[in-house]
Symmetry: C2
């Protein structure tokens, strides 16, 4: 079997985002993929579902992956439907994850510059389905979205 493409991996994260949306939450999802293509974990934003201030797509995914050796993170790819915020950027840097695949960064531009400065390979896929998910959500729930990115409403 050939290794999954970045678009295949993004489909995993997008399914999580859609799950979050269907739960009434913020539609952002992520997947953590090992060097050999194994899916280590998936996750999605749980601000609404768990009243959480720290479970964004990427951090929920990292939490679901559990405690991993540094060597696993060192070969991993973090796939996320939306540009990572400062917290999620920091989590990626903390664990030395060398590659990040982003669905879209049109509705939100996060830590791209810092990730690149610190040597992380960043791929932005400009995925229309991810963009539609967030565009619809932000239009319908501006206050909730502002809360999630720490912005005064």
């Amino acid at each position: 079997m050939s290794r999954p493409s970045d678009h295949d991996l993004l489909a995993l994260a997008r399914a999580e985002a859609e799950r979050g949306r269907d739960e009434g939450g913020i539609p952002i999802g992520a997947a953590l993929i090992a060097a050999d293509g194994t899916v280590l974990a998936v996750g999605h934003n749980r601000r609404v579902q768990q009243g959480s201030a720290i479970r964004h797509g990427e951090t929920d995914c990292l939490e679901n992956a559990g405690r991993l050796p540094a060597s696993v993170y060192a070969g991993a790819t973090m796939v996320t439907t939306l540009s990572p915020c400062d917290m999620c950027t920091g989590a990626i840097l903390l664990y030395g994850i060398p590659r990040v695949v982003v669905g879209e960064n049109t509705t939100f531009y996060g830590g791209e510059d810092l990730l690149r400065e610190r040597g992380v390979e960043l791929v932005v896929l400009d995925d229309p389905a991810c963009l539609a998910l967030m565009t619809d959500f932000v239009a319908s729930n501006p206050s909730l979205w502002n809360e999630d990115i720490g912005v005064e409403d």
Copy 2:
């Protein structure tokens, strides 16, 4: 009643670090303090206790504080026994917390430079009790400590 000093606030975070140590965990604690001095939440690292990859002192504290309006974060102080790692630095930046009090940054130097670049006021207290907590812990548990900061053992 006069407002608590930074040393008073650090005592809250240190008590959390000691609680974590007594639970068999990584001894790092934090407290989130509102503009008027109210303690919004305390927290401590729960890598061992919950098998958590994302509950560091500061993020556990933010999670315990729950969903807060941006205006509350905008007046808050994050107090932590140890220099914040990249993830916790990012969480502080995400929520626009303008002031960080650090117990010590001798055993670990994290996001100080980025916090200052982004306009966060940073106070490092060089607290001997915080330093002793971490020095003892790192000496006794080097692998666990490396895991927590994403370093290959």
